[in-house]
Each structure stands twice: as structure tokens, then as C-alpha cells.
């Protein structure tokens, strides 16, 4: 039985040497591998499967509009700021906190950028850097109260939500500021350039090939490593199937985009964020500390982890990503408005929980946050295309959030 391998062996002597390469391939059938890896990664796989099902469902109910090149492009551009927030929110939740202020902070930073660029006529790249710094400062301000003074994050960020919404109104005097210069708008509405113009966006297709090659290489490395440590890695057929599926999905995605205007700049930005934050969370000391503090704060503290500083940095980072989201949103709207970012915090929190975060902290992945955000985004988009009224959309999204977390909790209890 495949699952036996995950259970404590009675005899330590029978355990494999971790230091020496003994690639003992285990006779494990394809079906067993699928069921084992599905069972041990229910959170991850469950959400990916759910996302795929939702995509298929809306592809059918919208008569194929959902996956048309224009709409796929829209999906990215409409959801980019939520996804950016979801990454930061995932870190906050893993650390055992919550941030209700991100929508207001995004609006405030958008307003600051608007004043700098539209009113003062500063060069926009300078304004972007300044705006990110403002975001980091706001994060530091909230992080100070949470980490060093010890006020619950729920309360500090609830205060921040009111505070920065109010300040946005003050700065903009209740008005919208527009328009932004073209360079600034490119951030949210532009596409990467192409060097060989044609029907298809050639560079985007190349990008897809490069990304799928990188993913395949990474999968292969992971597999080699698992074999090296004598962990069940599954048969070659399963491995090939996985890589084939990933390659097809990635290239179908870039090919679709190439049929429109190519990869949006904000798409590149997102990919970069996913890669960097995944790396930080999996490979860096800081990432490990963020998990450790969320998983068991006292134990982390007694292990020499600077728990306060870790939490502080998580909020500084959240502030910066909220600022980035605010900039992207302002660029997309081509205006800074005091109403920007309303309810963004709720979408970001929902994305993180749908993507497998645990309310108790210590659990979650960056990719999970993205998948969760896409579940929300595809539902928004699909329901709008189907002309579902906005009130019903809210109700349905709420139910999906509840169901997703209930499914998660159910699985956790079952595995106990």
C-alpha cells in the first residue's frame, strides 16, 4: 500500500541513508502515485482542481468567451492588484496576523502618486519609488504597533483602514485626479514589446517556452532530489504526465495572449513577484522565520528567532505590496480616486484562505494565494460575462469562500 511509506517505520535502522545517493526506485503504480500525492497535498491539488473546474464551467456557460484572448488578457489586468495584495496577505496570515487596511492603503498611495504626478508634475518613475516608500512606511507604522507594542493586528489594521481611507479623501479633497502620463499607465495597461511583428506576438510565445522549460527543469530537479533522499517519487509516467500538462497549460496560456497583444507588463510583474516571494518563503532564513513565528510563536522565540522583527518586516512588506497594488490600480483606472481599493482587503484575505492558508497561522504558500486569487477572479469575470447581477455575485463568492475553507478543515480533521 502506497500510503504505508508515509507512516513512521518501527525501526530506525530500516530507514534510508539520507546522505548517500541510493536511488532505489520504488515499485509504485501510476494510480497509487496519483492517489498518494493527491492525499498528501489535498490543499494544493484541491484548489488547482477547483480552479480548473471553475474555468471549464465558465468556459461552457459563457459560450467560450472566458478563454478568448481578449478576455484572458482582461483577467490578468483586472486581477493583478488583487493578486499582488494576496501575496502580501498570504505572508501576513502565515505569520499569524491579518491586515484589513490594504484597500485603504492602496487608495492612499494611489492618491499620493496622483498628487505627485498630476498636481506637482514630478517624473513618474520618481513618484513610483516615492509611493512604494510611503507604502513601506505605512507598513512600518502598523507593524510597530502590532509587533512591538503588541496590539492585535485586527485592531491596528482596522484603525489603519479607517485612517488611510480618511487621509485619501483629505489628500484628494474628495475629487479624482487624472490623467496620468502614458509611461505610468503602461504599468497596468501596457504590453511587452515584440521584436518580430506578425499575427502572433512572437516574444510572448518564446517567453512561454522559456517558462515551461524552467518549470520542467525545476520539476526534474525536485524529482531527482526525492529519489536521492529515497522519498516516494512516483513512476516516470506520472512525472512525464505532469510536465506535459504543465507545459501545455503554460504554452496554451502564452499562445492565447500572443493572439491578442502579447504578455501584459503587469503579467511579467506578477510572475516576478511569484518567483521572488516563493523563493523567499522556501529558501531564505527570513521565510523560514515567518512560518516559524506563525506556527508557534513561543517556540520560535525560544529558538532565537527575532519574532517581533519578523512580524514587523512582514507588515513593512505588506505596506509596500499594498502601495504597488494601489499604483497598478491607479494606472489601470488612469485616475487616483478616494474610493479606490474599497473591499480589496476582503478579496485578498479570501484569496489567501481559498488558497490554503490556515487561520491559525504557519501554513500556506505563495502559489496557493495566486490560485486562490484566480479562483475569485475567474468567478468575478465569468459571472459578469454571464450577466449575473452584482448582488448575486457577492453571495456566490461568499459561499465559495466558506465552502473552500470548510473543505480544508474537513480534510485536516480527517487526516488526524
Amino acid at each position: 500500500m502506497a500510503i504505508d511509506k508515509l507512516v513512521v517505520g518501527p525501526d530506525p535502522a530500516s530507514s534510508p541513508p539520507g546522505g548517500s545517493p541510493t536511488p532505489a526506485a520504488k515499485p509504485e503504480g501510476l494510480l497509487q502515485t496519483v492517489s498518494r500525492s493527491a492525499r498528501s497535498n489535498v490543499r494544493q491539488y484541491g484548489m488547482v482542481v477547483a480552479l480548473a473546474l471553475i474555468v471549464i464551467l465558465f468556459q461552457i456557460t459563457t459560450d467560450g468567451i472566458l478563454l478568448r484572448p481578449l478576455n484572458v488578457n482582461n483577467l490578468i489586468m483586472q486581477n493583478a492588484y488583487i493578486l499582488i495584495l494576496a501575496i502580501g496577505m498570504m505572508l501576513v496570515i502565515i505569520n499569524g496576523h491579518i491586515d484589513l487596511s490594504v484597500g485603504s492603503v492602496a487608495a492612499f498611495v494611489g492618491a499620493v502618486a496622483g498628487v505627485m504626478v498630476v498636481t506637482w508634475d514630478l517624473p513618474w518613475p520618481l513618484a513610483v519609488v516615492a509611493a512604494l516608500a510611503v507604502g513601506a512606511l505605512i507598513g512600518a507604522f502598523q507593524g510597530f504597533w502590532i509587533a512591538y507594542v503588541g496590539i492585535p493586528s485586527f485592531i491596528v489594521t482596522l484603525a489603519g483602514m479607517l485612517l488611510f481611507r480618511g487621509l485619501s479623501l483629505v489628500i484628494l479633497e474628495g475629487q479624482s485626479l487624472a490623467p496620468f502620463p502614458d509611461g505610468f499607465r503602461e504599468m497596468a495597461a501596457g504590453f511587452i514589446p515584440d521584436f518580430a511583428g506578425g499575427e502572433l506576438h512572437f516574444f510572448t510565445i518564446l517567453l512561454g517556452l522559456a517558462v515551461s522549460a524552467a518549470v520542467a527543469w525545476n520539476e526534474w530537479r525536485t524529482r531527482r532530489r526525492r529519489l536521492y533522499y529515497n522519498l516516494p517519487a512516483g513512476p516516470v509516467s506520472w512525472f512525464v504526465l505532469r510536465i506535459a500538462a504543465l507545459t501545455i497549460v503554460i504554452n496554451a496560456f502564452t499562445f492565447t495572449l500572443a493572439r491578442y497583444e502579447g504578455m501584459p507588463i503587469v503579467g511579467i510583474l506578477l510572475i516576478a513577484l511569484i518567483v521572488v516571494y516563493s523563493f523567499v518563503m522556501n529558501r531564505s532564513v527570513l521565510g523560514r522565520h515567518i512560518y516559524a513565528v506563525g506556527g508557534n510563536r513561543k517556540a520560535a522565540e525560544l529558538s532565537g528567532v527575532k519574532t517581533k522583527r519578523t512580524t514587523f518586516l512582514v507588515f513593512v512588506n505588506m505596506g509596500m505590496l499594498a502601495a504597488l497594488a494601489g499604483l497598478v490600480f491607479a494606472a489601470r483606472l488612469n485616475a487616483a480616486t478616494p474610493k479606490a481599493g474599497t473591499n480589496f482587503e476582503l478579496d485578498a484575505i479570501a484569496a489567501a484562505f481559498i488558497g490554503g492558508a490556515s487561520a491559525a497561522g504557519g501554513v500556506g504558500t505563495v502559489v496557493g494565494a495566486i490560485v486562490g486569487g484566480l479562483v475569485m477572479g475567474v468567478m468575478n469575470n465569468g459571472m459578469s460575462l454571464m450577466d449575473v447581477a452584482i448582488d448575486w455575485q457577492q453571495a456566490i463568492k461568499g459561499s465559495v469562500l466558506l465552502l473552500a475553507v470548510a473543505f480544508d478543515v474537513y480534510n485536516k480533521n480527517k487526516s488526524k
Partner: protein, 518 residues
């Protein structure tokens, strides 16, 4: 009642088999408990004691296991705890299930409220609370919050709560694990009294001395099977017999033999004072002086609340306490570890008392737990070398013989003894010179204890200094070269291996503040 020709069984469990995916936790277990007796259930961690009791109490509902349960000679099928409690079976778990900020009375009738149409009848609640408190000999105001009384009394409140439910069969899981010597005695006496009042108890305990003192019958479990059931009233039973039954081999000595080689003074604390974290004028440690030499195992004895943990944690990077004063020396040099990471850098390690709450990340795998205290060792410029990390963790896992297939196994899925080894690995990973171990063998089985002792001795033999806090006197006497005794925040004495007897240490442990000054 002992002369009854046919044993009057209150409980009979027959052929109980319970499987989890991949493991058979119980394999054809049989248990017969006579009415009005104290029945001890012993076995190593993972032997199946807790699982068996969960089967009995309906945590694992009927149908999820094979075998038969008969209560009062009638088949019993419990679907949940509520049903087993209705039948008079109450479990008191190791981790007490009391709400700290609620009063004793509220706790006793929690979920079992004396009410009329949903409104609490306070008069009845109070009078009945007083009645059950009298039965457990606890003289406290029913309105006192549970947080305001000690662990020993909290344990009594738990028992009172069971009595309020009209308990027939009381199951106690490691009831004395967190209690000091006198509270333990108190509790055991209470069990005897309850027995005389006709209440049957099943006692799960690692403390064999206690088991032998109170049990009428002893059932030994090993690897999910019943090894034997001994009638402790009919024959003379010794610890050795039970231990060999539990581990399946003879343990000639509980403590491995050792010839200490003492070196220079490695670690020293002078004039150490610590105040309570939240009550500013309460002094927890008063003018403590102690030293540890290289290669030495030094014990700290004391009752609960004597200030041992507070002393250790305040030295360990000021992780406890306010207004800390005094000096710490290592190799003759004064050091000032102001944070835990400072302390780690100075080669000090502190293995916490409560491994689940303060020692481990249960959701994380062994590898992540082991390297957390010193990630710098396996990283370059803050980027963790995952391969290096696995190799280091695996080496410690094999070194300390943690029973897990790989280091990728979740810490939460290990048994108590193996979890403790993971915590030890974690601290050995920081390459410490001074190891402070706080109750290193609490709640773990005899076999694992022995292994932990061996590790401690090996560390001492390598020239490190080991400082061990323990509430089990035999362990301190068996392991330590020297024992400091604390009472009410002061070090009231120091005894060498040669002069250390249970009586001498106990006397110092109970010495009060006034007599300690003289």
C-alpha cells in the same frame, strides 16, 4: 469483596483491534476491570494506552474498531464522548480541560449546568460544588477562578467535575505528570478513598512507583498488544518486572553507569535575581549562585514554583522575567546574553519543559524543527542550502535514533519520546557548550528515558556542561554529579552525588524562606 468467587467486572474489553492507515495501533487487546478497584494501565509511549481509552470513551466511535466492549456485563456501543459519559465513564486527560478564567463551580458544571429553562441555578450549582469539593478534599471558594489555584488543585477540580457527572469508571491519563511530590501523594490518596466509595479507576501512568503504590491490578501493553495483567494484591510485584514487560527486555539499571571526568568551571551564575513578568514586586529567583564544570551533569531539584524554570529561562537570553540582575560567566569570562540568539551564540542551549507548546513546531517536519535555532549554519547569505539542511538533520536523526522514516516527517506525528529527541537534536544542532534541560524526560516512556540519559552522558563526556531540572528525585539522584536544591526562589542547598539521598534533597526542597536565611 476480594473473596468474590466470580470477579464482578465493571468493564470488559475483548479483542479490541484498531487500525489507522498503515498502522495497527491496537491488536487484539483484552482488558478486564473489576468493580471497586484501581486498575493501572502501563506501557511505553505508543504502546496503545491512549488509543485504548479513546476506544472506550467513544472518541473513536463504535464501528471504527473491531472487538467488543461490555459495561456491567452489557454490550456498550458509544458513538461519542457524551454517550460514554452518560454511562458513567469519564476521562481526565493529561492536559487539563478547564477554562482558566471561569470559576471552580462554573468549570465543574461546564456542559452539565444546573439550570432551569436555560437559566443557571446558582444556588444549586454552589451547594453541589461544595459537596463534590468536600469529596475531593479541596477547600476552596467555588467562585475562585481556576487560573488562581495551582495545578495540583486544578487536577482535583477535574476529579470533582467527574464526580459531579456521577462517574462510575474514572480514567486518569498521567494525572501526576505535572504535580509535585506532595500533590501527587494527595491525589493518590484520593484515588484510594474514591475506591472505598465504590468508584473504579483506570490509572495510566509512567511513574511506576505510584502504580505500585495504589494499583490493585496492573495491565501491561506493548506495541498495541496486552502483555499481561498482574494482580498486585495477590503477588509481590517490583518495578523491574513491569519495566521488562513494557520494554520486552530486562533493564538492569534505570540509569546507565558512568564515570565522570570533570574539567574546568565552564559556566557560572553569580548573584542572580529575577522578578515576575507581570507581578512586578514578586521575586522569582533570589540571589542564586551556581556553577557547572566541563563534563559535569548538575541537577536542580525543587518543587513546582520553586523558581527553577524561571532561573533557567532568565539566564537563557532573558526569555523570562523582569528586572534581571546578576552576572553570567562562561569559561571565566563574563557574558551578557540579552536575547535568545545571543545566548545561542554563546553556546547556551535550553530545552524547554513543555515541548509541544514551547519546543516544537508540530506542523513542520523534523528537518525544519532541527535547523530553526541556527539556520545560519546551513545557509549562505541568508539563503538556505536545502541539501545541506537535510544532511545535517538526517545525521542528528540517526545519531539520536529518532524513530521516523525520514526527516521529512511531521513532528506532530511522532511519539512523545521521539519528539523530545527532535527537540534535543534541535539544540545539539546549535553546537552548545552548556545544555540546560528542563524536565527532559517528562511524559516519555522508560526506554526513551534511558536513551535520553545516554545522550546526556555522552554530551558530558564530550566536555560539555549539562544542567538538568527535574521533578523526579530518583532521576536526579541517578544522573547528577551534583544537585542544587531550590525552594521559594532561593538555592537552599547543594549536595554532591555521595551525600545525595531522597530524604536530604527533599528536606532542602521544602525548606521555607525564613529557615533558608539562617
Amino acid at each position: 469483596m476480594t473473596d468474590a468467587p466470580l470477579p464482578d467486572l465493571i468493564l470488559e474489553m475483548r479483542g479490541i483491534t484498531k487500525e489507522f492507515p498503515g498502522v495497527r495501533a491496537l491488536d487484539d487487546v483484552n482488558l478486564q476491570v473489576r468493580r471497586g478497584t484501581i486498575h493501572a494501565l502501563v506501557g511505553e509511549n505508543g504502546a496503545g494506552k491512549s488509543t485504548l481509552m479513546k476506544v472506550l470513551s467513544g472518541v473513536y466511535p463504535t464501528g471504527s474498531f473491531d472487538g467488543e466492549i461490555r459495561l456491567d456485563d452489557k454490550p456498550a456501543h458509544f458513538k461519542d464522548i457524551r454517550q460514554s459519559e452518560a454511562a458513567g465513564i469519564v476521562i481526565i486527560h493529561q492536559e487539563l480541560a478547564l477554562v482558566p478564567l471561569m470559576s471552580i463551580a462554573e468549570n465543574i458544571f461546564l456542559g452539565n449546568e444546573r439550570d432551569r429553562g436555560g437559566l443557571i441555578n446558582w444556588h444549586e450549582t454552589t451547594t453541589q460544588t461544595l459537596a463534590v469539593l468536600r469529596k475531593v478534599r479541596l477547600d476552596e471558594d467555588p467562585a475562585t477562578p481556576v487560573a488562581g489555584i495551582g495545578v495540583g488543585k486544578q487536577q482535583l477540580v477535574e476529579i470533582a467535575k467527574a464526580l459531579a457527572k456521577d462517574v462510575q469508571l474514572l480514567i486518569l491519563d498521567e494525572p501526576t505528570a505535572a504535580l509535585n511530590e506532595s500533590d501527587s501523594q494527595n491525589l493518590l490518596n484520593l484515588l484510594r478513598e474514591l475506591r472505598d466509595q465504590g468508584i473504579t479507576s483506570i490509572l495510566i501512568s509512567h511513574k511506576l512507583g505510584e502504580v505500585l503504590a495504589v494499583a490493585d491490578t496492573i495491565t501491561i501493553l506493548r506495541d498495541g498488544r496486552t502483555v499481561e495483567t498482574i494482580d498486585a494484591r495477590a503477588e509481590k510485584v517490583g518495578e523491574d518486572r513491569i519495566i521488562s514487560g513494557m520494554v520486552g527486555r530486562d533493564l538492569d539499571h534505570l540509569f546507565p553507569p558512568r564515570a565522570p571526568h570533570l574539567g574546568e568551571t565552564l559556566f557560572e551564575i553569580r548573584g542572580w535575581n529575577v522578578f515576575h513578568e507581570t507581578v512586578p514586586d514578586r521575586q522569582m529567583v533570589i540571589d542564586a549562585n551556581l556553577h557547572v564544570r566541563r563534563g559535569e551533569i548538575v541537577g536542580i531539584a525543587g518543587l513546582m514554583g520553586a523558581g527553577r524554570t524561571e532561573l533557567a529561562m532568565s539566564v537563557f537570553g532573558r526569555s523570562y522575567g523582569k528586572k534581571i540582575s546578576g552576572a553570567v560567566y562562561k569559561d571565566g569570562q563574563e557574558i551578557t546574553p540579552h536575547s535568545v540568539s545571543d545566548a545561542i551564540k554563546h553556546g547556551i542551549a535550553y530545552v524547554t519543559e513543555d515541548r509541544k507548546q514551547y519546543g516544537l513546531h508540530l506542523e513542520e517536519d523534523i528537518r525544519h524543527n532541527v535547523t530553526l535555532s541556527d539556520l545560519g549554519r546551513v545557509s549562505k547569505r541568508s539563503v538556505i542550502d536545502l541539501h545541506h539542511e537535510v544532511v545535517e538533520a538526517e545525521q542528528l536523526r540517526r545519531d539520536l535514533q529518532v524513530k521516523a522514516r525520514t526527516v521529512f516527517q511531521k513532528a506532530g506525528n511522532l511519539s512523545g519520546g521521539n519528539q523530545q529527541k527532535v527537540v534535543l537534536s534541535k539544540w545539539l544542532f546549535t553546537r552548545p557548550d552548556v545544555l540546560i534541560l528542563d524536565e527532559p524526560t517528562r511524559g516519555i516512556d522508560v526506554g526513551a528515558k534511558y536513551e535520553i540519559y545516554l545522550i546526556m552522558q555522552r554530551l558530558a563526556a564530550e566536555g560539555k556542561g549539562v544542567l538538568m531540572i527535574s521533578s523526579e528525585l530518583p532521576e536526579l539522584l541517578g544522573m547528577c554529579d551534583r544537585i542544587y536544591v531550590m525552594s521559594q526562589g532561593r538555592i537552599t542547598g547543594e549536595v554532591s552525588r555521595e551525600e545525595a539521598t531522597q530524604e536530604a534533597v527533599m528536606k532542602l526542597m521544602t525548606r521555607t524562606r525564613t529557615s533558608a536565611v539562617s
